[in-house]
């Protein structure tokens, strides 16, 4: 049985939950994750968007990604906490694990978008790294 996913933003205006099993757990070092967070990377889990619900307003910001699509990022308009990302047209959410009520169990499987990592960024040598995304079966 899966553990319920619950969390929200710094000020409490945004709350979310999901019963889904995470599809993946990664550290993303892409420029969009950097600029959104003000940090070197964002640790996140993938969740089916259909199995996720939230209360409270979020602001979505859209930016062109390097594959020609639109990447979107949601943040709380009151406190600014960046909560999740989504690629337009895809059914998967990238949930920022720091916003979980209990983020302690996060176990990243890989580091992605190493190609845009900052020179001072430090990696866990035991994890596989990919210049961008890992190869995925169609």
């Amino acid at each position: 049985m899966s553990k319920k996913i619950e969390g929200g933003c710094l000020c409490g205006a945004v709350r979310y939950e999901s019963d889904a099993e995470p599809l993946f757990a990664v550290n993303c070092h892409c420029r969009h994750c950097q600029m959104t967070s003000g940090s070197t990377h964002i640790p996140g889990i993938g969740l089916p968007a259909a199995a996720f619900s939230h209360t409270g307003d979020v602001t979505w910001y859209k930016i062109q990604n390097d594959r020609g699509g639109q990447s979107m990022r949601a943040f709380c308009p009151t406190c600014g906490t960046p909560i999740m990302g989504q690629i337009e047209g895809e059914e998967i959410l990238f949930l920022h694990v720091i916003t979980l009520d209990d983020p302690g169990g996060f176990a990243p499987q890989m580091d992605i978008f190493e190609s845009s990592a900052q020179p001072w960024d430090r990696f866990d040598d035991t994890l596989p790294r990919f210049a961008k995304m890992p190869p995925m079966g169609e």
């Binding site: 950097q34 959104t36 308009p77 600014g80 960046p82 900052q118």
Partner: protein, 139 residues
């Protein structure tokens, strides 16, 4: 004169600059940094607040720190990028290093608030680590 401290958010609405030299660069693992960033820590460059120019609409969020001082964090109101923070107890602005136009010179000197670091965070073993802040001389 240094021009290291110049940058802004991803949509360009928030911009900051100063000629002052960076004072210190650190990775902060405090809970507030985590929540404001959506990341396990921020890499921040502290620079003298005086003479710093900052423009653009921001979301300000204020919390009381463990030292009892007010800490203000500023994100772009349009794109949500977490850009900088200030603490009422310090005369410095902490800009998030990744928001610098040129961040290639950045080299964190220490890890602070490791007492609240996430158990899965990967830290640089070579950097000095402090449970909270390093001992500081009274100013």
């Amino acid at each position: 004169m240094s021009h290291k401290i110049k940058g802004g958010c991803q949509c360009g609405a928030v911009r900051y600059s100063t000629d002052a030299e960076p004072m210190v660069t650190f990775n902060c693992h405090c809970t507030h940094c985590q929540q404001a960033s959506g990341a396990p820590f921020t890499t921040a460059v502290a620079v003298q607040r005086e003479n710093m120019t900052i423009s653009g609409d921001v979301i300000e969020h204020t919390q009381t720190s463990d030292l009892g001082t007010l800490v203000h964090r500023f994100s772009c109101a349009k794109c949500g990028a977490y850009v900088y923070g200030i603490s009422d107890g310090f005369g410095a602005t902490a800009v998030n290093a990744v928001t610098l136009d040129d961040a290639s010179w950045v080299e964190p000197q220490m890890e602070v608030y490791v007492s609240s670091a996430q158990p899965w965070t990967h830290m640089d073993p070579a950097l000095p680590k402090f449970d909270k802040l390093p001992p500081m001389e009274e100013s």
